[in-house]
Symmetry: C2
Subunit: 290 residues, 2 copies
């Protein structure tokens, strides 16, 4: 842990290093290696982290101060918004958004200030997205859903003063949800490549409704919702050295057996994650022939 | 999501807001409400988050670029060190270290630059720590253990280019470990208050060895290690809609049943978390009569 003055010099140096490393970097995945099955496996994995992130956020009460709007100049703002904006700007400097799976909530603040974007060749992930369609984005809807609908469902109405820790947990939830939902762009691209003839007529007719029907597989969606419920049961239980933890909690009459109610996790998927992901897929496909 | 220029103005405003809120804030816990039992419950809860954080880190391979030292000025530095330093400095501005449970790894960089410390009355948690002893700190040992010993045990030797996401996950692990280990200061204070006569002779004799013996309860430690193993088994399994996920993975001959081997989590506690916590307790007690 070397001590030195806090300056922007490190980032200039880093950018050069990045460039050297990236330039000698081999493609870690080829376009052909991405399939609907590998994407599904990745989405399934992401469910774990979404459930973990809800459980982590539930350590803190609601902490309304973090969300109360206040005037800043002539704009409404909030503690959480300031925090997310500053964090994203900093993470951008360290290269977070060079990975096309990651999208910032405040893109206006995330331009690397010390390294022009062209210094970072974007080949961590294969360039599989169709450029005009890659901008399909529901960040604003995710933000509003998270704060208006989801957060009050799984946090206690109280205040413990840990505002920074609270909004840092919020950002982890938001980033996990955004990554999951915006992966709809990759899903749509792979589905389109696999059978373009299925989608082209509806895309040409700008027929969102038909596209939505083509992208809907009710039995798969139901299985996802059930699996997420089960994950919240398993990951959110109070583990002790007894054999059956949930049963034990019931016997002791413990108020809540789970750190986050499994029904909240499954509702999150049923009402928001799955519909938003399909919306991203439709938005993507509508721009796929541009 | 209002758009406005990125400036330091928000933080000045925030500091004023913080002051107003804190000034009207009631003490959320009284000294008398903190007992060894309530502390143990908190430590038990923290185990979940430590296991989650390891599982989250294990999503990414080792990514050695993030740890390779390079020269910056006349000092050795690394990508992860730069990231942690910048993140801590930013989190400090948002008040993270006003909570005495949180300790930065790079305290030289975490002074709130826009708000003098006295503007933040420190009463989120009760001031139970004895001031000269509160500085008991093993951050450097945690840092070295994490990167030198722990990380290679549960990450794949590979590189996927997600360096920012990787070091952000590292920081989450480090913060969870630091909070758990430095809670030894609170444990030591409560134990001392409960029966000062047990500790005073050894403290006066500066007898670390006797203090360590007084603080060692082998059966409790063994139970903690077993519980952490069980948590890693439960939280790190691949959940699907079958009845017995681990059994199913075994039947399918899946390479690793768990996202992080449970033996790594229990080793972490046995070899490092418990000994480091006790070291913090001893260091604290040695300064308790100053």
């Amino acid at each position: 842990m070397a001590s030195m003055t806090h300056s922007s010099l490190p980032l200039v140096f880093l950018c050069s290093l990045f460039y050297v490393i990236f330039s000698s970097f081999c493609y870690c995945k080829s376009v052909s290696s991405i399939t609907i099955d590998s994407l599904r496996a990745s989405l399934e994995n992401q469910e774990d982290f979404i459930v973990f992130s809800l459980i982590e956020r539930a350590r803190y009460p609601y902490n309304s101060f973090a969300y109360d709007p206040f005037f800043l100049g002539n704009q409404n703002c909030s503690f959480v918004e300031l925090f997310v904006r500053e964090t994203e700007a900093m993470e951008a400097k360290f290269g977070r958004y060079q990975n096309p799976e990651e999208l910032p909530f405040f893109p206006d603040y995330t331009q690397p200030q010390l390294a022009p974007p062209h210094k970072f060749p974007n080949f961590i992930l294969p360039k599989i997205l169709h450029p005009p369609a890659a901008s399909a984005n529901v960040s604003r809807r995710i933000w509003d859903m998270y704060f208006n609908d989801l957060l009050p469902l799984f946090t206690k109405k109280a205040d413990d003063g840990n505002y920074q820790q609270t909004v840092a947990s919020d950002l982890i939830c938001l980033q996990a949800l955004s990554r999951r939902i915006h992966s709809g762009r990759f899903v749509a691209e792979i589905k389109f490549r696999d059978s373009p003839q299925n989608y082209i007529p509806a895309i040409q007719a700008k027929d969102s409704e038909t596209l939505m029907k083509l992208l809907t597989f009710t039995s798969v969606e139901e299985a996802v919702v059930k699996r997420v419920f089960k994950k919240a049961e398993i990951f959110g239980q109070n583990v002790n050295l007894g054999k059956n933890n949930v049963k034990e909690a019931e016997d002791k009459g413990i108020e809540s057996k789970y750190k986050v109610e499994p029904s909240v996790a499954s509702k999150l998927y049923q009402e928001w994650v799955i519909p938003f992901t399909k919306q991203v897929e439709v938005d993507y496909l509508l721009r796929r022939l541009i």
